[in-house]
């Protein structure tokens, strides 16, 4: 595990970003995250969640402020090195899985980092086992269901043993059972996870920490139970209470009234 | 318009492979020079896109029929001629392997007939000069239609030549050309319209995605000059190469080529003689659609005999039996071991 001076895996200080000198998309973001944490990033559509995620993996480096991943400052020189520490699971699994068999796709990262064939083999087995799809190893990507594709996408990242895993809307288009299964699997992964989602129940089930973004700023950063139960806060920023929290919220009110 | 393996003689297939490889080598060099790592995934995804759009039916106004997209011209207008050409090679190979559209041996011909003209002639000699001073709806529509019609005509003409030089058909040059060209004129026109509609949409939505539009004057002129020169040099070298290979084969197998050349020129008109022709002549008169044209070349006819054919059929029948017997005993054996 590579960390910064104080053991942080991710350090963001006063980060601002704008596309081609137009309006700022991200303003003065501050965030520090440690190994083993699981952070949900929430916010309404178009408030800069995806932009922030893409900055974290170095798909854009024209930002102002400090961004350090695993102790390395993000810049053009460090990018290749930093990417060995950070994995990104795309919203659309079909974009993530660009080879025709699962085996080759999971081996793609390790092979590119010049690992020996034995090591690649070991990594593939481990990654597939972690997401419980060992039996899909030789299957063609094209034939997988949406849920299987999502798990395979995660395996392609796990095989690189990253310190940080970023996921963009992982629960989208999953049926209830696959969704439940994914929650279980994510909770077993011990890297730092940063998950963006509109599925607030999913965030509640997978992340102990939650960051609320609006208009490019961090509005709230704290325990998920606290932020996701705060009806006024959520509604003020274009979100609604998660279903399960909604039930609890109603229960609380009933209790108070009763 | 895909050529099948059966239609090309090995010499023709080989020649066209050499030509297509030449164009591919130039393209790979150009794409490498661009040094844009994003280009390859874009080529792959766009290739799959073109492949899929070929399966859509487009209603042709005023008729009951529908048209299709072939894509060479569209790809080149998005990716440039070199990346477009390499992408079309991929599309044609996958098509040939997955859906038997075209053939492994005829692939060189198909790449030349469908990708080379569309990408190199269509993009470099039509699209680029027309878009040099900036694009407009009218210019895009004109370039698409001219490009598609012209490159499809060239492709269809190449199919005719390749088939005739291969010497497998008795069809006269004139009949073949008179059938192929008009059909492809209509196909090219419709394809041009579809291509135009799509490119105009892209131009209006995201013009920066189109290739070769409004390049700065001096760069454009220099580049255009260079690329025109390059293209002419490439075509000249390839033509010389083709001539060389064909004549090499011609000297090795004089009969076949003379036969087909004579056929192409359409000179020999030999009279049918003897009662043996009665039946066939009757059929011909009955159909009477065909011109009175008969051709025989007994010298080059390495004939076959009836007994030879019977013998061959017997051998094949025995083989079929042997293969089934092998499979039967094998499955029985594995069944026994399994039990």
């Amino acid at each position: 595990m590579h960390t910064g001076v104080n053991g942080e895996v991710l350090k963001i200080e006063n980060l601002s970003f704008s596309y081609e000198k137009k309006d700022q998309v991200l303003k003065d973001i501050n965030l520090t995250a440690y190994s083993g944490e699981s952070i949900g990033v929430i916010g309404a559509n178009g408030i800069g969640k995806t932009t922030l995620m893409k900055l974290l993996v170095g798909l854009n480096t024209d930002f102002e402020g400090v961004l350090e991943v695993a102790g390395h400052p993000m810049n053009q020189k460090n990018i290749a090195h930093i990417r060995e520490h950070i994995g990104y699971v795309f919203q659309d699994s079909d974009s993530q899985l660009f080879l025709s068999t699962i085996e080759d796709d999971v081996a793609f990262g390790p092979r590119n980092y010049g690992l020996s064939e034995e090591e690649v083999e070991k990594r593939v087995e481990e990654a597939l086992a972690k997401v419980h799809i060992t039996e899909l190893r030789h299957k063609q990507t094209y034939k997988l269901s949406g849920g299987e594709k999502k798990l395979a996408s995660i395996a392609t990242i796990l095989s690189m043993k990253p310190d940080i895993i970023i996921m963009d809307e992982p629960s989208i288009a999953l049926d209830p059972r696959n969704r439940r299964n994914l929650i279980g699997i994510l909770n077993e992964i011990d890297s730092l996870k940063i998950i963006t989602s509109h599925d607030l129940d999913f965030i509640l089930d997978t992340c102990e920490r939650c960051v609320l973004l609006d208009e490019g700023r961090i509005i709230a950063d704290g325990r998920s139970e606290k932020i996701l139960m705060d009806k006024e806060l959520l509604e003020a920023h274009g979100l609604e209470l998660p279903l399960s929290a909604g039930c609890r919220y109603k229960q609380n009110i009933d209790n108070v009234q009763g | 318009m895909h050529m099948a393996d059966a239609l090309v003689a090995p010499a023709v297939a080989g020649t066209m492979y050499v030509l297509s490889t030449g164009a591919a080598t130039v393209s790979v060099k150009k794409v490498r020079e661009e040094n844009d790592p994003k280009k390859i995934p874009v080529m792959g995804v766009m290739g799959a896109f073109v492949f899929a759009t070929q399966m859509l039916n487009f209603t042709i106004p005023g008729t009951g029929s529908s048209g299709h997209l072939c894509g060479g011209m569209m790809l080149s207008a998005m990716l440039g001629p070199y990346a477009g050409f390499l992408t079309m090679i991929g599309v044609l190979l996958v098509q040939c392997l997955l859906f038997a559209d075209g053939g492994l041996l005829a692939l060189g011909c198909n790449i030349w007939n469908m990708a080379f003209y569309g990408c190199f002639i269509g993009a470099l000699l039509i699209w680029r000069p027309m878009m040099k001073k900036g694009a407009s709806r009218v210019k895009i529509i004109a370039a698409s239609i001219i490009g598609c019609v012209l490159t499809l005509q060239m492709g269809a003409f190449s199919v005719t030549l390749e088939t005739l030089i291969s010497g497998i058909t008795e069809l006269p040059f004139s009949v073949f050309v008179a059938t192929m060209q008009p059909i492809h004129l209509a196909i090219g026109f419709v394809e041009g319209l579809i291509t135009a509609a799509v490119l105009v949409f892209v131009y209006e939505a995201r013009p920066e995605l189109l290739w070769g539009i409004g390049e700065s004057e001096t760069v454009a002129r220099k580049e255009a000059k260079l690329s025109l020169k390059n293209t002419i040099v490439v075509i000249a070298v390839l033509a010389a190469l083709a001539g060389g290979i064909v004549s090499l084969f011609a000297s090795a197998f004089p009969d076949g080529l003379e036969w087909s050349m004579e056929q192409v020129a359409g000179t020999a008109e030999l009279e049918a003689e003897g009662g043996a022709y009665a039946v066939a002549e009757g059929i011909q008169e009955a159909t009477s659609l065909l011109p009175d044209y008969a051709f025989k070349n007994s010298e080059s006819a390495i004939g076959t005999s009836f007994s030879g054919i019977v013998g061959a059929l017997v051998v094949v029948a025995i083989l079929v039996g042997a293969c089934y017997a092998f499979r039967f005993f094998k499955s029985k054996k594995s069944g026994v071991t399994a039990a």
Partner: protein, 265 residues
Amino acid sequence: MSKIEKNIRELNKLQNLQQRSHWMNDLHPLGKLLLSVIYIFITVSFGKYSLAPLIIMAIYPIFGFIIGELSIKEGLYRMRLILPLVVFVGIFNPFFDRQVMFYIGGSGGQTGIPVTEGIISMVTLMLKGFYSVLSAYILIATTSIDDICYALRILHVPKQIVIVIMLIYRYFGVMAAEADRITTAYKLRAPKQNGIHYKAWGTLVGQWLLRSMDRAEDVYESMLLRGFKGDFIMKKQKTRPIDIIYPLIWTIAFIVIRHVLIRFL
């Protein structure tokens, strides 16, 4: 069933065949690819009247289909795309080339049924068409496109072309499914049309094209984030003696038919 659905089904069937466990599937892809090309090359090199030796050439597809346990019906079905041109080119041979080659039956003063050169050359052409399609089917039913790409890399085909082929193959299924959704959605709202109306050509395909460009961007980023440096590194496949012996025996057999047997038939 629409053309798109048919193609998707055909893709599925081929992928199932490629995933079978059969010794033919396990042969080295380079040997299988070269064998197919050599077979087609020799097949089309037969003269247009050399029917008898050409019939013998059927041994390869027959062996491939029976021993390889492939469906001949599926193989023949694949003829449909190239058949029209082959038929157009060959069907006129009997009318133009009417020199009698031999008679079937007939004895003494009677002549039998005449068989002309044109008929022979037409049958020869058709056989070449069938053989080449069937042998290509044997290749693709036992070898995945990825394996063929691996063979192409051994043959020094530039990586730019090979990677593009792999991506086209991977995304063809995805794009075909999208095409199916688009046409279905279109048909449901325009039930009386048998295709896409010309007014929708630009927007419908154009929108889809822009979406595909965005997807290409994502694919590129996904590669980049997993260490893509311009090449796909492929796992090396081992070569066993059978990988060389199998194509070699067949090649010798084809050459014998082409150059030796031809004299006796």
